[in-house]
Symmetry: C2
Amino acid sequence: MSTAEELGERKIINLILDCLDQMPNMPVPFGDDVSAIDIGNEKLAIIKTDMLVGKTDVPPGMTRQQAARKAVVMNISDLAAKGVQPLAILASIGVPRDLTAKDIQKIGKGLNEGAREYNAYVLGGDTNEASDLIISCVAFGICEERHLMRRSGANPGDIVAVTELFGRTSSGLKILLESLSAPPKLRKELVRAVYVPHARLKEGLALAQTQAATASIDSSDGLAWSLHELSVASNAGFLIDNLPVASEAKQFAKIHRLDPAELSLYGGEEYELLVTIKPRLWEKAKKAVEHIGTSLIKIGVVTEEKDLLLKAEGKKVLIEARGWEHFKTV
Amino acid sequence: MSTAEELGERKIINLILDCLDQMPNMPVPFGDDVSAIDIGNEKLAIIKTDMLVGKTDVPPGMTRQQAARKAVVMNISDLAAKGVQPLAILASIGVPRDLTAKDIQKIGKGLNEGAREYNAYVLGGDTNEASDLIISCVAFGICEERHLMRRSGANPGDIVAVTELFGRTSSGLKILLESLSAPPKLRKELVRAVYVPHARLKEGLALAQTQAATASIDSSDGLAWSLHELSVASNAGFLIDNLPVASEAKQFAKIHRLDPAELSLYGGEEYELLVTIKPRLWEKAKKAVEHIGTSLIKIGVVTEEKDLLLKAEGKKVLIEARGWEHFKTV
């Protein structure tokens, strides 16, 4: 019989989903970035939980304070992608026996920092003994049902856009996990992208207000995988003709003869928004995001065919449905 | 510097709380069984998260399905103690690499079972690679603010009551963890109390409707510790004159020459309600709980003095503020 290691995260999730009775009239289906409950008056309660595990989610050199902050930010990022302001954070913490009082204070500070940066508060939680550091956070918010940006609404012809260029974190992770080198200034920037991720909350909230987005997801599992997820949920495909590659990733790729497209597509831990926008509302959406000081970068178009295609130098190549996945080495 | 092991769970929690900015006008303070957010119209959103860790929370012989069910039930129990119907459960799961597909299905079944028993649904979650089985659940519900039963309202003269006699789980844990023996029928009952805990949800909901309870807590950290927590939160003491000891615990104590009072007071993993009731509403509260088929057992009275006292055979002895605590051997 297959083990967790052979199954991979997505098959594990499906095995569990198959055991669950489904709540009638779920406002968002299983598998979207968040869960939602109808609380009346056309409002939804939005909840997300995601767990940070020391061994797999804390790269070398990341401090405990940064790890705790990241555990909060990765949950807030999912609310951001849905256009929902987080109000409260809860944290359930597994603490190894040898952590010191100072380590624990750093964790407390990181949790508070992550929440306060996004105008939320840590309201409570729980601690437990565990063999590895575990920080399982919950983010909670409330939104108007009509403002919620699901994964499932992309229509052929919609504009595909992202909030930032990609490839910094995958480069940073190569530095931290595979000991690849980089000049000091570049190294610092790439590594910082991994250690101090930011959720695109203001951008998500602004986009939700415009009602221009037909689908939205955070890119934490990598750009390619996020495209795949949107494609499945929306039953549509994508033609990407402007791959968003960060200049730092290009520089890093050049040094190590890596493919910059690969760094941009198949990374992970990159908390940008990937959205599809109604063409007639494109300017409105773009301005709303620019008003915050962020670019909304057009990278392609939604297609009727279900393929994920990358058009570069006149050729079309398939974007593979892979990305960061626990258990499986990709 | 002290390590987590030396600090103990409660000091760890205080170290973290000291780092947190406090949300203005929190409807329930830090440290109550649940967290709450004011959502307008005199309603509160109630959230709880609690983590089950394989190594410390899954005794020998407990199946993975039972463990997953317990991870849900222990969160629902906290909502039950506040008088709040759980609507949704989320589960963030840390999966060891060697778990099989069948193991994972059992976990899915256990989660669903725990939720459906209490009329809630599992709405989502997340899986991660971890070295030990971790099931961090979230329970969510909504209640009228006036129905919420906090820890903090006990007044001198109020009646102290519980929903069941105590000592089964501490006896069961002695069988499972210390290999103490018991006749087959007794063993089965005691062990089952550990493997298949029940949350007193119907009882909590009924009590909330009566508005008879001035304070309420679930007894998952043991009766003595729960009395201590209520005492601190309500700034009052307790005189217990009718210690609730289950007949099975008395039988078990007799076999091993244990103190049945000890088994009743200093156990844990016993998901009963410990409540304080306005004397003039005692009959109403009692009837509401009996209507469900459960007894509401009067065990003592709230006192002005802050001590926790047990009156037995004409003598008064101090109840120690100890119970099940992770990290610390008690």
